[in-house]
Structure formats: structure tokens, C-alpha cells
């Protein structure tokens, strides 16, 4: 049975859907989702774990252990009370935590769900974003995959060691997963805002329309609405902007915020909630706790990591925010409206990474008097000592003396009077295709403490070269990706049996639980545990469209 979304009424009397954004990257504060679920009655909670290169980092852990390759922070907060809150409050979770291995991620989620007795939890997995094999088969047809922004760069397939290539999927399969009854949706690479748009596809009934009509699970999703095309595109654009505003977590609630008022505490910063309306507008607000949502904080996040504001491209719709209206309602509520949409792109963006070179960093502290002169001297000495290494590129930064500024700005700012620094932190960032050269470079840092200018300090163990990944954005015709996208449901043997044969639930499975709880016979207990473990094993069920 498909559960209907809780619809709450806000002052505008338009139904709106409450969606939380409780994480902005893999490594964000893990308390946030549990905190948000505790203090709010959400319809959906979304978690974005994937930055540009996260997939490649995950692919490294996957190659060392085929059960990994997903955002392990998810397991932590689900076990710290998250899973019970999702169940008790009936909040659906939508996340791209699946990374390069969404099925293993979903198996973990099912294990955690079973551990609290939620054995019929419906977990959908969206796969099909991995396009490595499509890329390689295209090579035979002569397609080389140009860089998305810089056509002068070597095409992707000219690089030897391509580690990952994933297309940014859109919201379609997420919406359809929920319409098919998912409590939790686990994806790999999808566009960040599409996590939120996917929730809206269900809440608006569009995904159910598409289910009823048997349409494919990937776009064009604007045609699912039964509305006029332009109206549908504008709605998708509005929902995408709301998604963009909350997918970086607390950055819209006073984090990384220039205009943070002095009286606002961000030590217990809260995470954002979008009240998204079925008319395409939204109200951005936040959970209980520190931080602030105001017009300025919303605009800063609106313009974060975008280029042409009239041409913000997502897999779902091309968004135009050049006429956007941002209205402060007070009490940490900001209304966002007047966004328009155009037809989605014919090609999907691919983010890929290849192994580029090796990299090390080292740093030393240079004290005064005249710390900058001494730091420059230290750098000169070091460069002389490694001059025989012809295949390394060295970047020296003098922190305390304007290293955060490009040269032109440094020249401008040096026209004003400034006090001399008390010390300088020198940092060397060095790359090379030759690992050995970097090892030689690293061995020359510590000796500077005894053989360099006076007072140089702060060395640690020789830094070890690490592999450097180069990020390469490119694109692919969307039909080639979308034909391989699938929704898979994971459930337990137990939930299948109980659904099909209710008498077995009464007479067998619940009795097994009772035995485990109450039995004083060791043999009985052991047998019951073995049976229950088998009953709770994840079973994979492919959804055929």
C-alpha cells in the first residue's frame, strides 16, 4: 500500500511538504539527523553525502573490501537512534549514501532496521549511475568524452587509470521508489537537489501518476504531472531551488556566513528544513537550536557553487533564478519564489576521476624577528637542495604574509599599512608523477630544523606521497544511462513470508521472537536464533517496469 505524505497547512493555505536537509557532505556533524528527527515532524529527511570526488574515495575502500564503498556515517546515526525515530515518526529517508555500492549500504540499513524489529522496512536502492562500462564500450565507437568546460583538455578516455565515472541521475527513480512504497531510498550519484525533488514527485502525486500509466522510471518527469508543460517545469525549478538551498546542511543556517549577527550562537548550529509548497514556492527554515535563517543567509547559499543564474542545469530541469524573489518572514523563515524552468538537458553530466600524480605536503614554523625574510630564505635553501629533482612541481605558501590572496590582490592590499607578522607558517604542496622524487623531497624537510635559519621548528615524520585524483566532468546522452537505471527493493524473507502467509506470522515467526526473549533452554534459544538470522537476511527483489 502506498502511504500518503503528511500534508501540513501553512499560513498561505497552500499545502506544503516538510523536508529536512541534515547533512551537507560525508564527514558532516553526525548528530544532526538524529537531532532533526527528534525535534521536528518531518515528511522526509534527506542526506547528501557526495562531493565531487567522494565517489573515487569510496571506490578505493570498495576495492579493498567489497562490502564498503558507501558513506559509513549513515550507519552510525541510524544506530544512534535514527532508525527508531524514522519508524516511530513515519519519516521517509532519502539519501545518496550508497556511493559506489548502494546495495551493500542498503543491506546495512536493513540489518539495523531488523535490530529494532522493523523487519518489514521497505528499502529501495537506485542503481545505474555507474557509466564506466558504457564509456569503455563507447571508445570502440570513437567517442572520447570531452571535458565539459574546457575543450582544450585531453579527452577523458586518453587517461589510463579512470577510477570512477558516474552520471548524475535525476529525481525520477527516487519519486517512483517512494510511490512503490519505500520507507528508505538509497542511491548512488544523483544530483544533490534531486534528492529533494524526488520527495516532491511523490508528495505531489506525479510519481503515482507515472506508476499508474506505466511510464519509465527516468524522465521526462515534467510529463508526469498532468499539468501544462511550462507550469510543470516551473514547479520542478522551484523544488530544485529549495533542494539546492538545503542540500549543503547548515550553510544556509548561519554556517560559513559573512553576516552572522554577533548575538547568534552557532556552536549548536541547527540544520535546515524546507517547507515546500505544491505551487513551487518554499519557506526555508531550520530545526531547533543555534544559527539563523534570514534573507542574507539564504542568498549566500542560493549562489553557492553555481555559475550562470539563468541556466542552472540539473537532470530534472534547467533552472532560471534571475528573477527570484527572497522574502524574509521573520522567526527564521524565508520565502523563496518566482523561479522558472526550461526543458531538461539532453545530456547528463558525468563526474569522473582518474589517477593523475602523487602529492605531498609539508610545513614548518618560522619565528621572528623578520620571519618572512627567514621563511623565504628557508624556501630558497630547500629548493637548492632539491634542484636535482626535475620532475616535481613545488608551490610554496607563506601563511601570515598573505598566502590566501592571489598576487594581484596581495599587491593591492600591501598598499595599506599592516603590522609585521610575528611568525610565518611555510607550507609546501608538491606534486609529481614520480613517487620517489617526492620521497626525496620529503626527506629534506626535517633537516631544515638543524641546517636552516634560526628557530625553524615544527617538523613531523616524513610525509608519505599519496595518490592524487584528477576530477574530470564530462557528459553523455541521457538515454544511454537511463536505460540501465533500476529500482531494487531489499526486504527480509520474514517480511515476504508474513505478508504472504499471515498464519505463519501468528504461529511461527512471532513465536520465534518469544523463544529468543523468554527461553531458558539453551538449545531452543540457539535454534531460534539461527532461524531468525536466516529470516532477517536481506533479499533482493528487482522491480521490473
Amino acid at each position: 500500500m502506498v502511504k500518503m505524505s503528511k500534508i501540513e497547512t501553512v499560513s498561505t493555505a497552500t499545502p506544503s511538504v516538510l523536508i529536512g536537509g541534515a547533512g551537507g557532505f560525508w564527514g558532516d556533524r553526525t548528530y544532526a539527523p538524529v537531532d532533526m528527527l527528534t525535534h521536528n515532524d518531518l515528511d522526509y529527511i534527506t542526506m547528501d553525502y557526495l562531493a565531487e570526488v567522494t565517489m573515487s574515495i569510496m571506490s578505493k575502500s570498495y576495492s579493498s573490501n567489497p562490502k564498503l564503498g558507501w558513506a559509513t556515517d549513515l550507519e552510525r546515526w541510524l544506530k544512534e537512534g535514527g532508525i527508531s525515530l524514522l519508524r516511530e515518526k513515519g519519516v521517509r529517508l532519502v539519501t545518496n549514501a550508497g556511493g559506489v555500492n548502494p546495495v551493500s549500504c542498503a543491506q546495512m540499513v536493513l540489518d539495523v532496521a531488523c535490530s529494532i524489529g522493523w523487519t518489514n522496512c521497505q528499502i529501495a536502492v537506485v542503481t545505474g549511475d555507474n557509466v564506466l562500462s558504457i564509456l569503455h564500450s563507447s571508445a570502440k565507437e570513437g567517442e572520447q568524452f570531452q571535458h565539459m568546460f574546457d575543450k582544450s583538455k585531453e579527452p577523458l578516455l586518453h587517461h589510463d587509470e579512470i577510477i570512477t565515472a558516474n552520471a548524475y541521475l535525476g529525481a525520477g527513480p527516487i519519486g517512483r521508489s517512494i510511490a512503490k512504497g519505500a520507507d528508505i531510498v538509497i542511491t548512488g550519484r544523483v544530483a544533490d537537489a534531486s534528492l529533494i525533488v524526488g520527495c516532491m514527485l511523490h508528495a505531489s502525486g506525479w510519481a503515482q501518476n507515472a506508476e499508474n500509466e506505466g511510464l519509465p522510471i527516468c524522465g521526462p518527469i515534467h510529463s508526469w504531472s498532468k499539468k501544462e508543460q511550462q507550469e510543470s517545469l516551473d514547479l520542478l525549478a522551484g523544488w530544485s531551488v529549495a533542494g539546492h538551498l538545503i542540500e549543503c546542511g547548515a550553510q544556509v543556517c548561519g554556517g560559513n556566513f559573512t553576516n552572522l549577527p554577533a548575538n547568534v550562537d552557532i556552536s549548536d548550529i541547527s540544520y535546515p528544513i524546507a517547507k515546500i509548497s505544491l505551487d513551487g514556492s518554499s519557506i526555508i527554515t531550520k530545526s531547533k537550536g543555534g544559527g539563523i535563517v534570514n534573507r542574507a543567509s539564504v542568498i549566500e547559499q542560493l549562489l553557492y557553487e553555481i555559475d550562470d543564474p539563468s541556466n542552472y542545469i540539473t537532470p530534472d530541469v534547467i533552472v532560471d533564478i534571475s528573477m527570484i524573489s527572497i522574502e524574509e518572514l521573520g522567526d527564521n523563515q524565508v520565502k523563496v519564489s518566482s523561479v522558472s524552468g526550461r526543458l531538461p538537458p539532453e545530456r547528463l553530466k558525468i563526474s569522473s576521476c582518474y589517477h593523475d600524480a602523487y602529492f605531498i605536503t609539508s610545513q614548518l614554523l618560522v619565528p621572528g624577528p623578520e620571519p618572512l625574510a627567514k621563511a623565504q630564505q628557508t624556501d630558497k635553501i630547500l629548493r637548492k637542495r632539491v634542484a636535482h629533482l626535475k620532475d616535481i612541481i613545488i608551490e610554496t605558501e607563506f601563511f601570515g604574509a598573505g598566502a590566501s590572496l592571489p598576487l594581484g590582490l596581495r599587491k593591492l592590499l600591501d598598499k595599506t599599512t599592516h603590522s609585521n607578522p610575528r611568525e610565518i607558517l611555510v607550507r609546501w604542496g608538491v606534486s609529481s608523477t614520480n613517487r620517489q622524487s617526492l620521497e626525496v623531497f620529503a626527506s629534506e624537510i626535517a633537516p631544515l630544523v638543524l641546517t636552516g635559519p634560526a628557530g625553524v621548528s615544527g617538523y613531523s615524520a616524513r610525509s608519505k606521497p599519496r595518490k592524487q585524483l584528477a576530477f574530470f566532468p564530462t557528459s553523455i546522452g541521457r538515454e544511454r544511462v537511463e536505460e540501465q537505471v533500476e529500482i531494487t527493493f531489499l526486504h527480509t524473507l520474514r517480511s515476504e513470508i508474513e505478508e504472504r502467509y499471515p498464519w505463519l506470522k501468528r504461529n511461527v515467526t512471532t513465536r520465534i521472537d518469544k523463544v529468543i526473549m523468554n527461553s531458558d533452554s539453551r538449545t531452543k534459544l540457539a535454534v531460534a536464533r539461527v532461524i531468525r538470522r536466516r529470516l532477517h537476511m536481506p533479499r533482493i527483489c528487482k522491480v521490473v517496469d
Partner: protein, 106 residues
Amino acid sequence: MKSKRVYLRELAHARSGDKGDLVNIALIAHDEAAFEILKQGITSELLKSWFEGWTEGPFEIYSIESIHSLNCIIHNVLQGGGTTSRRLDAQGKALGQVLLQAWIEV
């Protein structure tokens, strides 16, 4: 008439972020008057002179009237991108605040 030095932080607040090898710096004017000064003052040529040493560009500036904002796009500024940059601020996250320290003559 003698020109006056106006610091960007008096005119705007800012946030920067990366996408591949480009950084976008949003300058959000405090009010309409400040926005007019920013629109006049911030040009591709000026950005080019400020980013000397890090990139030759290209530079793009988009203006969003309804929110009094300029979106400055600085291309080829991260030594290939956030993962291959040798600088500590590999993703240009500091650049918004860096720019607020600069001034324009009006």
C-alpha cells in the same frame, strides 16, 4: 572629482565555492545603492588584475537584479581542481572573504 576608496566589505557580503577548476564568488550588495557601485566597479579587467599569479581567466560576471547580487566566475584558478591544487585552500572556499578585503575606487 577626486575618487574615493570603498572596501568591498562595506558594500557586500560574499560566499565562494568551487566546481571543477572554477570558483564562483557571489557578492551580495547590502542595498540598492551599494549594488549600483558594485556593478560599475567590478569588471572582468579588475578581476583579472586581482587574480594575477593564479589565473589568466576567463572571468565572467552575472548580475541578479532582484537580489542585488553579482556572481563572479573565475576560471582555471584551482590548478586543475580541488583535488589537484597544491594550495591549502584547494577549493577556493576562502576567496569570498579574501575579496571582501579589497577595494574599488569610486
